[in-house]
């Protein structure tokens, strides 16, 4: 078996022959076709590939948001492909942070409430104080009680970053985090993203169309037609 990974031992995340088939009106679509990958603690990995190649689906199966049709995924020492929906939810809460292109903040909650949310779900104390601290660290001290609709795209993504890193996850999944932002805002977000990743020491998997952005990662994987083409 050809494991596409860097040479370090004890991976924090490994995918073994992962397949994903989805049903559509036109019949089943084979999206991931036998993905084998390993990720080491603290490394940054860029995932590139053409549209429809399966990049986002790869993140979804790693996050447990889309169940793999077959194959095995082990993350933080747990085989997540055997977990049920609630167990996956708890696994995500404790170990995974996600940043989306569309931010996916709760529109009826303020910035501070959005950041506090995963901590609340984890039953942590002083969540509001801690959320405030995280928002200050992304430079949004003045926007604590603003609703997402009252923030710019760049600000919303900063809230999403504060939320994703708030639980200091072992794995951070970023799906085109600058895709909805202008160039300057995108650059700021990327700088912040790498900065936070370094501070927390999380493993980051960054899906992007931009080769230069992927190039900032320690390793780049190219996906094509549901398979790892290079990396």
């Amino acid at each position: 078996m050809n494991k596409m990974s860097s040479p370090a031992a004890n991976p924090i995340l490994s995918l073994d022959d992962v397949h994903l088939k989805l049903n559509s009106d036109a019949g089943p679509v084979h999206i991931l076709r036998g993905i084998d990958l390993e990720f080491n603690p603290g490394e940054t990995v860029g995932v590139i590939g053409p549209s429809g190649s399966g990049k986002t689906s790869l993140l979804m199966v790693i996050a447990g948001l889309e169940p793999a049709t077959s194959g095995k995924i082990v993350a933080v020492g747990q085989e997540i492909t055997t977990l049920n929906e609630d167990q996956l939810t708890r696994f995500r809460r404790d170990h995974v942070g996600i940043v989306f292109q569309g931010f996916h903040l709760v529109p009826t909650m303020t910035a501070i409430e959005n950041v506090a949310l995963p901590m609340e779900f984890a039953g942590q104390s002083d969540v509001i104080d801690r959320a405030r601290h995280h928002l200050l660290s992304v430079g949004l001290g003045e926007r604590l009680h603003h609703f997402p609709g009252q923030l710019s795209g760049g600000e919303q993504q900063r809230v999403a970053l504060a939320r994703a890193f708030g639980m200091e996850p072992k794995i951070l999944l970023a799906d085109e985090p600058t895709g909805s932002l202008d160039h300057d805002s995108g650059q700021n977000i990327i700088a912040l993203l790498f900065d936070l990743q370094k501070r927390v020491g999380t493993t980051m998997i960054l899906v992007t169309h931009a080769p230069d952005l992927a190039g900032r990662c320690e390793r780049v994987i190219r996906i094509a037609d549901g398979k790892v083409a290079d990396g």
Binding site: D86, T89, D94, H104, L105, V106, F121, G149
Partner: protein, 846 residues
């Protein structure tokens, strides 16, 4: 100027595209509107059908073209000659209450509604009995027994069968057949006993016809074809200007039943309007939800140069088109409902309805529906006009939340005013309609205020330590929260239900549970003056009796207030009952009744002067009279004008003897009076008392208070069921609106749930948060409705019915419990669907 042709084209095109997927998106709108319209149309149609039934059968129910009634005395020979000569057919009927018992089992006595008829009876229609023999033949005397045709209920009550012989007064009657129907009898609303139909020729043998006995003499006439009843009445009034008879024509055959139908229709139409009001709130929500889904289209129209007015016209045309569909459904269902109701509850209706299409109530329901559609859709459409073209450039579009222009707010105010005026203008009793409109507006404002208070309170509360509580409480004040929608939509219906349940509960208790501890067991009527001493001794001599009271009485009708005919006098609705028929009158030198004199003084015991009266203070308020004013009464054909000398506050619930009008000595003594009496008795001796009172005195009737109250309670329960059943529709409407509120929130909730799941919330946690939120909303709605319903119920009992109020905690508690159940169930259903959603599809980039 808006190009309406263009607006129409765009509206129809967009609506048609939307409808291609079916009416799913418009279900809430159509249900809310058609439910309200159908209720109003059904109540109106049924009322018209019943009244038409009354009119169609007027002559039959009346017993002729004219029914002339005298109390306690028959017409004079001169009058009889006049009546007979002016008519083509003539019949005399005598009605009274009497006691009947089998000749073999004396203890099985019971009170009956006696009707004695002549051979000409009935002038219109026919009597149906269990035997195919002419009525006059059934009633004629054979040997020593007269014939009687009786209600089947009598046979059960006295343990007799057809062919048995019973005694009434001094006469013997053989039961020859059972009565199936009488043409001139309205289905029983309330009666003291089963019908006992005999020949009037037999009455002399009974010995029951005594001076002053409570006998009703009816004279029925068929007029010549060319003589109109009104003309005949005029001629009669000229011939006998102060005869004191009550004259009715077919149009007034059963005024009591007509009043009952009209009053019931009025209150049920209020329920219908409440359904429409709740539905109106649903219309607002549904239109808002629909327009939220059209923001991109609206923003695109605006980008391409459409004015706000054009946007308004496009969507108003769509709403009106849909509204007309909803109205058509409502009118069709409402128009057909009376047919279904006739099939279901026909036998219990007081009169058989004449089925047909009644244009007026259907048109009225449609007008209410149309006005509601426009009024309640105005603000969301106006708000949609404020959508900015820039919305197109945002990835995620916020729901419409802009404030409509002032002119639209003003237009909505005009719409509400028009609805209020239509409600008042179309009500048979505007007095009640004004209260209904005021109460409805106040209820909506209070519920809206309550919702605002909940939101503010939730925001002001220090955040609880428990994350689930914190999340559910913050959900209450988030932008676009469902608090006002749920509280107002469910609250209106629940308030109505609580109020009705409390009013009904209080009324039932007045009759059954709250009977005064020392209530009389019997009332005795028709005691002749020469019987009083023996009668007193007979009933008071039984051990176990107490509290005996007896007073002289006769009946009279109020005809003028301060010299003004009652038809022209302004009388408040709660006092009109006193002018609808004959009132029992008495006289007293010394005050013997328990009611307190609250204004003026009692006259001297030996008063000898012009007639004075002591009047019920409630009636005085209703008549708008005070001490020194006069009432004119027609007593046995003579008009007596008396000055009000004092006012008494009477507690009718005490069941003690009391009279709304008591005369001073010197006026009534010369009239043919009879006495009425009341006595308390241990249940064990009741039968002995009845026997002692009626065996030696066959002309005296004994009314068992317990039986009478049970009968009244049964009627009240029936009315209560009808009103509560209809009122339950307000809850149905509320539930539909609630479903709409939850449906409009569905997308948001799904999105929230997906994000919550991504961030680590298990399904159980999400479910708990939502259930806590809906539970709190249910509790608050229940409590608010409980308070509003209780205050409404109290106001009706206290101010309108003027009886004692008791708070019935169980009734309110049950209603709140049901409310929480409905809201929780709806919330649970909505949340369950939310939790079942696949996460990934909502998270992928567009």
């Amino acid at each position: 100027m808006v190009d309406l042709t263009l607006a129409g084209k765009l509206a129809v095109r967009e609506l048609a595209a939307e409808m291609r997927g079916g009416i799913r998106g418009f279900r809430i709108f159509l249900t809310c509107l058609s439910l309200g319209v159908a209720t109003i149309a059904a109540v109106g149609s049924l009322s018209q059908a019943l009244n038409a039934g009354l009119r169609a059968d007027g002559a039959k129910l009346l017993g002729g073209d004219i029914d002339l009634r005298l109390l306690q005395r028959p017409v004079s020979t001169e009058q009889r000659t006049y009546l007979q000569s002016g008519s083509v057919a003539y019949s005399e009927v005598v009605k009274m209450r009497a006691m009947v018992r089998p000749v073999t089992q004396r203890e099985n006595r019971t009170m009956v509604e006696l009707k004695a008829v002549d051979v000409a009876y009935p002038l219109v229609g026919s009597v149906q009995t269990t035997r195919d023999v002419p009525l006059s033949e059934l009633l004629q005397k054979r040997g020593s027994n007269w014939g009687a045709v009786v209600d089947p209920g009598l046979l059960t009550r006295i343990g007799a069968k057809t062919g048995d012989v019973v005694r009434m007064g001094a006469a013997r009657y053989q039961i020859r057949a059972q009565l199936i129907s009488e043409p001139d009898r309205i289905a029983n609303v309330f009666s003291f006993g089963p019908r006992f139909l005999v020949s009037s020729a037999s009455l002399a043998d009974t010995g029951l016809i005594q001076p002053g006995s409570q006998i009703r003499y009816h004279y029925r006439l068929i007029l010549p074809a060319d003589l109109k009843p009104d003309q005949w009445k005029t001629n009669l009034a000229q011939a006998f200007p102060s005869a004191g008879w009550r004259i009715r024509t077919p149009g007034e055959a059963a005024p009591g039943v007509k009043r009952f139908i009209d009053r019931m229709s009025l209150f049920l139409s209020f329920v219908g309007l409440t359904v429409l009001l709740v539905g109106g709130l649903g219309i607002t929500g549904a239109v808002k939800s629909y327009l939220n889904g059209r923001i991109r289209s609206i923003a695109t129209f605006r980008c391409l140069g459409a004015s706000a007015e054009l946007i308004f016209s496009i969507y108003m045309i769509q709403v009106v088109t849909l509204g007309l569909t909803g109205i058509a459904i409502g009118v069709a269902v409402g128009g057909l409902l009376p047919v279904a109701m006739l099939w279901l509850i026909g036998p219990t209706l007081p009169v058989q309805p004449a089925l047909g299409v009644f244009v007026t109530p259907l048109a009225l329901a449609a007008l209410f529906g149309f006005l509601s559609t426009i009024t309640f859709a105005l603000l969301p459409i106006a708000a949609a006009c404020e959508v900015r073209p820039a919305s197109l450039f945002r990835a995620r579009i916020a729901p419409i939340n802009s404030r409509p222009k002032q002119r639209y707010q003003l237009a909505m105010g005009v719409g509400i005013l028009a609805l209020a005026l239509l409600t008042i203008g179309s009500a048979s009793e505007p007095f009640f309609a004004v209260w209904f409109v005021g109460g409805s507006i106040l209820t909506v404002l209070l519920l809206g205020g309550g919702a605002e208070l909940v939101i503010r309170l939730a925001r002001a509360l220090p955040p609880p330590k428990n994350a689930l509580w914190r999340l559910s409480i913050t959900n209450l004040y988030r932008p676009g929260n469902a608090v006002p929608g749920i509280i107002v939509s469910m609250g209106v219906g629940l308030s109505v239900l609580v109020a009705i349940a409390l009013i009904e509960g209080n009324m039932s208790r007045q009759i059954s549970e709250r009977l005064p501890e020392r209530a009389p067991a019997f009332f005795f009527v028709d005691i002749q003056p020469d019987q009083v001493e023996r009668f007193d001794a007979a009933v008071t001599g039984i051990r176990g009796t107490s509290g005996y009271q007896r007073v002289p009485t006769l009946r009279g009708r109020i005809v003028k207030i301060n010299g003004r005919a009652i038809e022209d006098a302004a009388i408040s609705p709660d006092s009109q009952w006193a002018t609808h028929g004959d009132r029992a009158l008495t006289y007293a030198g010394k005050k013997t009744v328990e009611s307190k004199v609250v204004k003026g003084t009692w006259w001297p015991e030996d008063y000898k002067g012009p007639p004075l009266i002591s009047l019920d203070a409630g009636l005085a308020r209703g008549f708008g009279v005070d001490i020194g004013d006069t009432l004119t009464l027609n007593i046995l054909g003579r008009e007596v004008t008396a000055t009000i000398h004092n006012l008494r506050e009477i507690d009718w619930r005490s069941l003690r003897f009391d009279f709304a009008i008591i005369f001073s000595p010197g006026t009534l003594e010369g009239a043919p009076l009879t006495h009425i009496a009341a006595i308390e008795a241990d249940p064990a001796v009741e039968q002995a008392v009845e026997k002692a009172a009626t065996d030696p005195f066959p002309n005296i009737s004994a009314i068992r208070v317990r039986d009478a109250l049970q009968a009244a309670g049964k009627i009240l329960a029936g009315i209560g069921t009808a009103i509560t059943g209809t009122a339950a529709l307000t809850i149905v409407a509320g539930a539909v609106v609630l479903a709409g509120v939850i449906a409009s929130e569905h997308q948001r909730r799904v999105y929230d749930a997906v994000v919550f799941k991504v961030l680590g919330a298990t399904r159980r946690r999400i479910l708990t948060v939502y259930l806590l939120e809906y539970g709190m909303l249910g509790l608050v709605t229940g409590l608010l409705s409980g308070v509003i319903g209780t205050v409404t119920g109290w106001a009706v009992i206290h101010f309108l019915m003027r009886t004692e109020w008791e708070f019935l905690g169980t009734v309110v508690g049950t209603t709140i419990f049901i409310c929480m159940g409905v809201i929780l169930a709806a919330g649970l259903l909505g949340t369950w669907q939310t939790l079942g959603q696949k996460t990934a599809i909502h998270l992928r980039n567009d």
